[in-house]
Amino acid sequence: MKLRDIKEILNADVIVGEDKLDIEVKTAFGADLMSDVLAFAKAGSMLLTGLTNTQVVRIANVLDIAAIILVRGKKPPPETVSLAKDLHIPILTTKFILFETAGRLYAKGIVGCIEKVESGSERI
């Protein structure tokens, strides 16, 4: 699926990355805990989150996240927008809550970047 399709499904606004809507995305990870994102999110996934500070962009950069989807109607502050532009990371915003966002994307075939976290398993 293309990021453009994600935008349609979520009725999302594109804040950064209008030129990147043709990238392909297949997987997603949703969380508001930075360390959990670092522990489990995979390169090329979308990150669904309610966090809007600059750290979310830094983490997306560290992990090579394909796009940040801000949920629950959150809007990124200007410093987050400018860092995302600098680091070339798309930011989309949707009014849907995380549960609905995940449900709708899952129904269209997007899957988790991992399915489960096995306790004590290798996390790399």
Binding site: S35, L38, Q55, V62
Partner: protein
């Protein structure tokens, strides 16, 4: 053979405690340095993650710190030295879920108590020492897999 002879890059970067705006810049910097050196993607990614977690801990819990990066063709060493409150019980701090993060830090998305655990799981060798009211020292090694 002396290990330091084969290093392809070394640098020292500073981290300011309490400054959440600048937090993560060292990790971003280290990522781009390693990329420029054409290090394998896996090493770049794991180094950046470990550095990020260490950096955020300095910003959250210490006054200031220094991150030393040493790069060999197939290995990265990240040494993190901070001045600050230190960790009274390292075993406890290493446990998944243990966190002393305050409300402010939690609302920024930190405080899952996963940072040190992430460093151990993404690195190949990890050593930590700390002295209360002095500071904390981390030695993180990332090898090619």
């Amino acid at each position: 053979m002396n290990e330091s002879e084969n290093t392809i890059h070394t640098c020292q970067l500073e981290v300011e405690g309490g400054n959440f705006n600048a937090a993560g810049t060292v990790a971003t910097r280290i990522k781009s340095i390693l990329k420029e050196l054409k290090m394998p993607d896996d090493i770049v990614r794991r180094s950046a993650i470990c550095c990020y977690e260490a950096e955020i801990n300095i910003v959250s819990y210490a006054k200031k710190g220094i991150i030393n990066l040493t790069v060999w063709p197939e290995k990265v060493l990240i040494e993190v030295d901070d001045e600050g409150q230190g960790i009274p019980d390292i075993k406890q701090a290493m446990q998944q879920g243990y966190s002393t993060a305050n409300q402010l830090i939690r609302e920024m998305g930190f405080g899952a108590g996963m940072g040190l655990y992430n460093i151990t799981s993404y690195s190949d060798e990890f050593a930590i020492s700390s002295e209360v009211d002095k500071g904390t020292f981390l030695k993180i090694t990332i090898n090619k897999h």
